[in-house]
């Protein structure tokens, strides 16, 4: 099943009949073609018709999601988010027209809509044409908006170039969110990022501020002499979590070297 068909099925299963009817009827209407104004109103009305409950998904649903689109992870999504994406994808628009629609929706989006449309990035046609939207989300100082791009989303690892990727990882640390939910974090590690992260750790140390243990995960595989000194410093002075992270990073360093 395609992602939008899966989401429609989840909504039909979970929502009260009249809410499910509403979203499925709207989907048919949009498929048949409506004005831009009516399209926008339908997207606007969605949370008022469906509510904002968490989407109830079991292991089979998550497996189906991963099969429909590699890396798609709808855990933590809500019914209005799924509903809005069903409507956004309803008429099968693609190419520049879809990109223009997405751009226009984001230009006037409220917070929930912004989060929704960014979470939907892996489900859209012509992924490369939405790169600017994704990078804008990853520049946001609003943590939930940043996380909509960065966390549980295959899009950045697939589409961001190295500079964009490195900024994403550094920004995650900067706004004090976690790195663990970033997909393909290890695969996209690189020497430039390693250097940026070590410099950032030095800044934090100089300011007397804590350094996230997660930082060392992207340092280990490319740790040079200076980075090894940083890791040694963490082993001497860090707390339990930091020392564990530094040890893991040191373990990663030779393994990577041997592989190469």
């Amino acid at each position: 099943m395609t992602p939008d068909a899966l989401m429609a099925a989840w909504l039909e299963r979970q929502l009260p009949p009249e809410a499910a009817d509403w979203v499925l009827t709207q989907r048919e209407r949009l498929r048949a073609g409506v004005s831009e104004r009516d399209f926008n109103l339908a997207v606007s009305w969605t949370p008022r018709r469906l509510g904002k409950a968490d989407l109830a998904l079991g292991p089979d649903d998550l497996a189906a999601a991963g099969a429909a689109r590699r890396g798609w992870d709808p855990r933590g999504w809500t019914v209005d988010q799924a509903g809005r994406l069903v409507l956004l994808l309803a008429d099968g628009l693609d190419g520049p027209a879809f990109a223009a629609r997405l751009r226009s929706l984001l230009a006037t989006a409220d917070l929930s809509e912004t989060i929704t449309f960014l979470r939907g990035l892996p489900l859209y046609p012509d992924p490369a044409s939405h790169l600017m939207r994704a990078r804008e989300g990853a520049r946001s100082g609003m943590r939930p908006i940043f996380e909509a791009v960065a966390h549980a989303n295959p899009y950045p690892a697939e589409m961001f170039d190295e500079a964009g990727w490195n900024q994403l990882v550094l920004k995650a640390l900067f706004i004090e969110t976690t790195l663990a939910p970033i997909q393909d974090l290890d695969r996209r590690a690189n020497p430039t990022l390693m250097r940026m992260l070590c410099n950032y750790a030095h800044e934090r140390w100089a300011a007397g501020r804590p350094v996230s243990p997660e930082l060392w995960r992207c340092v280990g595989p490319f740790a040079d002499g200076a980075a090894r000194e940083d890791l040694a410093r963490v082993l001497r002075t860090g707390g339990d979590a930091e020392r564990a992270a530094a040890l893991a990073a040191m373990d990663a360093a030779p393994a990577r070297a041997a592989a190469e």
């Binding site: 104004r37 926008n40 109103l41 606007s44 009305w45 949370p47 008022r48 904002k52 968490d54 933590g76 809500t78 230009a107 006037t108 989006a109 409220d110 917070l111 929930s112 809509e113 912004t114 989060i115 609003m142 943590r143 939930p144 996380e147 007397g208």
Partner: protein
């Protein structure tokens, strides 16, 4: 708990948010207005409306305040026809955003023909979308402008109980209340209302359909006007129920009509909001008295900045 129904928070600092949360303000409404100077194109209008439905709402949430807004073309900028036409085109896209509680603040400034045209068009939009209306009454020729605003609302067949007439004073209060509209009073130093006068208004008319707000903005104004007025009302011997009505309950009734502002938003926030958009650590659940974490103040004597 207090609700301030008229705040231009985009002009205020984080110190203000901290003080407001500490004083027990749980929610504030940001009416769309001008920026102290006229906008020159619709693009800056779009970004402004996007800011008040987005960034400012997020910012308020970080301090435990729920932030709502109204959207509309204000009376001053209604006089720029080219801009006004473009704004009327994009307004429907913002009217149904999350947390938009009314069309406003709209009405008259100089009571020109263009102001009248766009006031009426926006009343029709509010009616079409089932939204309350916040009416800004003019500072000059106020009494006549206030009467005219209510005449026009009635002409468009809108129930007065869906309309707040704001910035009232002793001269306008009686007519607004007698005609069944909500009457907002902006406690704003030097102009609009003073809060000692407000005590007299509540004593005279009772609490029904009266709302106290601060209208705090970029000018000399006070984001604590609502809690301060509540305290003056208390000292003036006004009963607790009446104080609660004019500083909280009436606000909820007047601006809760389209379902975008509900008590549960701060007493029992949706799980998704708690995870993402609302750091609601200032209010206990279940309607108990608000507990505000002591915030470390940054006074002139606190020299250390970490």
């Amino acid at each position: 708990m207090y609700i301030d129904t008229h705040t231009h928070m985009i002009s205020r600092t984080t110190d203000d948010y901290e003080l407001m949360a500490k004083a027990g303000i749980v929610a504030c409404i940001e009416p769309a207005f001008w920026l102290g100077q006229p906008r020159t194109n619709v693009g800056s209008y779009i970004d402004y409306l996007s800011t008040i439905v987005g960034w400012e709402r997020f910012r308020a949430g970080q301090f435990g305040l729920r932030h709502y807004c109204t959207v509309g073309l204000n009376s001053k900028e209604a006089n720029n026809e080219e801009l006004a036409e473009a704004v009327m085109e994009i307004l429907p896209r913002f009217a149904l955003k999350e947390g938009v509680v009314a069309i406003g603040e709209i009405g008259y400034d100089e009571q020109t023909e263009l102001e009248d045209r766009y006031f009426r068009q926006q009343l029709e939009l509010a009616r079409e979308l089932g939204m309350p209306v916040m009416v800004h009454t003019p500072h000059r020729d106020k009494k006549r402008g206030t009467t005219r605003s209510m005449d026009v609302v009635e002409e468009h067949g809108i129930d007065p109980s869906w309309v707040v007439i704001d910035h009232n004073n002793e001269e306008t209060a009686r007519e607004v209340l007698e005609r069944g509209f909500w009457a907002g009073f902006s406690i704003y130093p030097g102009t609009k209302m003073g809060n000692e006068r407000m005590v007299e208004i509540v004593r005279r008319y009772g609490p029904e359909r009266i709302l106290v707000d601060s209208a705090c903005d970029w000018g000399v104004s006070d984001p604590l006007a609502v809690p301060k007025t509540a305290e003056l009302l208390r000292r003036g011997g006004i009963g607790d129920n009446a104080i609660r009505a004019v500083t909280y309950g009436n606000a909820l009734a007047a601006y809760g009509r389209n379902g975008q502002m509900q008590e549960a938003d701060w007493l029992d926030p949706a799980p998704i909001d708690q995870r993402t958009l609302y750091m609601g650590n200032s209010v206990l659940r279940g309607g108990q008295a608000p507990r505000v974490d002591e915030l470390r103040r940054r006074g002139p004597g606190d020299l250390v900045i970490e």
